[in-house]
Symmetry: T
Subunit: 140 residues, 12 copies
């Protein structure tokens, strides 16, 4: 099973455009190209949605087909029990990543509903958070 | 009006597979078949969605067509004001059901946004929670 | 073992007289007569007390003699650890019932000490909450 | 750029039918017709959804095409970080409107996730809240 | 109906002995004798109990037989929903009295469950709190 | 010293006009006339102000000139540390009165800053709260 | 009745001088002149005070003489129950306005005591908040 | 005065049967026999009740007759102000004991109303908690 | 600019008389005389008021005329956003002083609204708190 | 293994000097001498430190060498997760003792981080708390 | 006794280097030299440590040898009960100083454990906070 | 600068022995050897301490000598403002690592004081958390 899935939550499709002082100026596409080049022996699938329900659907449908899932739930980190329950319900390992460090932002971003159910969390390294998560998944 | 609607919220499509120590091993389909056999004089419709918005849509569209609605909002019980508002907005009676007892689980599951708007709540009886709700609806 | 016990907590002896807009106008006696008529093959015992300690005593003494206990702890739902501990201590299954839905009333009624220890909770259906609980117990 | 967008959140499609003591008896369509007649030199687009994700999508897609957006997030006001993040991410000015005054209702409606990111908030004037917001946008 | 009932809650039978710096040195009996002498045209009944349930019983049984009830719930002021519910359930007016001012003591004594259901509250005047309550009841 | 002072806080000058379902229809003047007639051997002074600072001034200036002060701080009950400090600073006994029972209203009205410093509190008896306070003061 | 009253709370007399990055550089006088010119068929009275009590006095005295009152309670928004009670006590409609959006500032500014009693709230539009409020009042 | 009293609160009559993983398998009778054998020069009285009021009664009636009282209030530890007040009201020293350590259980068991009034607290040593308390009392 | 202003808040005019165990026995006048003697090359103005609004007025009117302001807001420290806003609005440096240490008193005195806006805070040194503040201001 | 270790936390080296109304007048040395005399068949080691880290070190290093450890963490009871983790990490049984009863003191002393990990807690008996703990350890 | 001790808590050895926008650019050494020059008739000792325990040790060992202690507990202000207990345990007067004003920073810096035990607190004056504290100590 | 420093907080010297179900069975030494072998072109220094102050010292002394610091503050994560301040004070980048996921454990472990000051956080990957942190540091 040499496939890995990256799921990005709401507003991450605007990466590179949205609030560059928090999220940086690089778009996610350029990161994705780079990761695919670096790991050409693996298939890296990508899914982005602004819909809580679609992320739940995707997590369920991906179960069993991937070595692991890298999930940046963005705003849903702090409000979605449904996504947390989906992670708990599937068997594929999920890693939580964040570009910035939610703990250094508004207090409503300090709560993560998904953290108790993932195999690990990586936050604050910018887009490198994804690289670190990927390197861990591929080493499993 | 001899129709009843059952609405299941996020991750309940995994019933029987997901965390069987909490939710049991029976799939929802087998329950549904049994209920339909037992109550062949009624039409029992079924809707499941992982999307908060689709549950709101469904509640609205069903208004006036059913004797009552049995709703297990699952994770949205604890986070959705939108579903609660939809229940308040329609006239069809809604019963809240839960398979396990949220009060015996994590503290963020103790809050129910929908409880103040339903005609009654049944929780903790496993899949029998649905049977009890149905028997009540049919007796109205 | 064809016996079932119904325990009612404080002020429920006033049912039918007390705040009829919340609790309805039917007295508990008429419900009890009806339930006994409907289930003449079972013995339905009834106990009401305004005393927390007597409810604890009753739960303990009933252990082993009943198929199950239907308990409406009323005000003690929200304040009694002793009753909750008694339910945890005995082996007879207990169902929590409420006539109105505590979640739709004052915030101090949102907490249930007994909920984590019962096999299920039914609330908001008026006196029909008892019927539903009984039908479940008899089906066990 | 003589276009303005009005976005209505969950259950506002029921306006005029739902809880008329809170939301009034006028439907949103009649308001919209009136506004379009009054401001025939502007194009007033309208979008309603019960889906949090669709509102996020709409906000993103509308960025750059409108003079401003009038948003009534309804229930999502109190639960959606994703919509708040979308407003922060786009450059088009957004005005928050409410028909009733959330501060005069249940305490869970006192929190607005979107308020810190909008250029202004108008609440409590019934459907006139939209008129005020529109007159402000057109005066920019 | 020229009867009045005074109900004293837990530990008030020790009045005059218990913590005299808080509750004073006078026993309740001497107060009662004085009140009966002063108001010889009325029957002043007295009930004291350390049992929450007995106070609930007494309130229920007294309903309809008294012009009014003067209740010092003592410790149960802060912990008993059952007594509060009993006051709400009966029609006889109840006045809440306290010898000391609970608001000037530990913070767990600042909460009164009964206050929302009584016709008035008098606290802090020592045993004179009862006199004031009685003079009000007799003036009705 | 046969003088007593009654101080009324903000908006109590509107008594009889303002929200009669909460505060009754009687004006304070008619009560005052009646109290003065009943207790013609005492001078009953009256002071009303909507200004927190003027109530502090009045409490200070009255110290030593009155047998006691009857104070209804109204809204300032819940927000004024300055008035509470003034009561603590003077030697004249102060009684806190309320027309309605703050404990039965919004939660921000449950806090009384002045309660720990007065000799007693009387609330909920309508304008009779003042009569009871006066009868106590005159009996000292 | 073609009169409207604008009441400004504490420190708003410094407008144009005080913290211009929050409140802007325009003085209130220039706004007032402009509003009076635009609406020469109406009398627009103006009152500013740093005193909570004077604002209460003014609200009471204005009752019945104005079509409506536009109130920016400034700091008293967050601390004054007395002003909130005054608004509840009078019959003249009151609109709450804020120059900046309190929800985007310190958390102690998120609470508005007056919001539940006004007919509507407008905040965040700078001095245009007053214009919007006025245009609404005049349209009544 | 060579008498000591042991008071056990609700559900402790089930000791040895109830939840043996928390409370152990030994019944209280066997402990009591052993303690009486070991300390034959003292009279060790025993009282158990599931009633809060009876424990208050017993504490009051025992005052002056015992060298000390060993009290395991069980569930009432966390909910009874009445028992705490009784301990404060009597002069006989009281020791609080617990079989398990409430601090290691649910958070609602972390609060002890009686702790501030006892001469000492012993918890977590199983039935040995009583032995330690007794050895301390006899050494006084 | 050799002028300094001292502003004292509510009840500080009673200094020397009010609660001497907390505030000491010295009157403020004697301190003021001493400070003026010691610093005869400076003009030390003094203002005391029990009115929140007058303190706001004074702060505004003094702006630009003094080297600095020494402010003991007393009770308003804990309740006045208006005074805090006035300090933020003016340019003259303000020092917060307290005679006793609010942190060692009731918890509602632990909050200081003005602290974030002053150049420094001095508390607990009795009347010497003013001396320290003055010596700092004069050294600027 | 006939060795026992007593560890005292910060400021307990001042025992007998520090706040004798709370901690008594006896020094710890005299207690230690007495305990060693009474239990001459055991080696009673003693360690006191004001350093959180040294207490963690000592707990780790003592593991396996003692029958048990008697620990009075003093101030660190309420603030040290590190000491609690050390107790959880070692196998030697630890008993928590306190001279006074933290539950009867300031609320920040009500929290014990170590309580969930010790085999039992003894508090409030003065220096006798240590004797009781020792007698229990030696009886194991 | 002409000796004074200054104790600086964690990270204050970096003064002048660390976050100069909060703590200024001057090193503590240059302040110390200046203070020693200004007060050559006194011995000014200095102690800095990043260790909570060493600060407790130092406070204890200094007791009786100094006219007073100036303590900037830095981070330990907000987390150390041990240092607070040490201050309470010794007789030498301690003054709490802070360079910046903790009340104007993150909310976890608003709590001071030491404040209730010191003779006074000075904060926000930069390094001048120490000068003010010293001038007070020397004036005793 | 080809040096990296790993700092481990309290009780991590017991790794492999302590609670293996939470922390795993591997000792830290074996991980360290492996990391050094894998990255023989870098010097990987290691420091472990149970002392908060020593970790602060070490962070300060390492500033400027290392490419970066990998810090597992263990228990001090949740209680140490001093370590957080040290990280903020130095310029060397610090990465926070945790073996288990604190968010999935007791609620007092959900708070991280250091998170706002580190460049990134990695938790839950077991000892692999260190590997990921190291690979990131070396890639800088």
């Amino acid at each position: 099973m040499n496939k890995v899935l990256i799921i990005n939550g709401p507003n991450l499709n605007l990466l590179g455009k949205r609030e560059p002082d928090i999220y940086g100026k690089e778009s996610f596409d350029s990161l994705l190209s780079m990761l695919r080049r670096q790991h050409s022996d693996h298939q890296i699938d990508y899914f982005q949605s602004n819909h809580e329900g679609e992320i739940v659907d995707q997590l369920q449908q991906s179960d069993g087909s991937y070595k692991g899932i890298i999930l940046n739930p963005a705003a849903y980190t702090h409000t979605s029990v449904a996504i947390a329950d989906a992670i708990a319900a599937i068997e594929t390992p999920v890693i939580e990543v964040h570009i910035s460090n939610p703990m250094a932002r508004e207090s409503f971003r300090h709560k993560s509903f998904v953290a108790p159910y993932v195999i690990g969390s990586i936050s604050g390294f910018g887009l490198k958070s994804y690289e670190l998560a990927l390197s861990h998944l591929l080493s499993l």
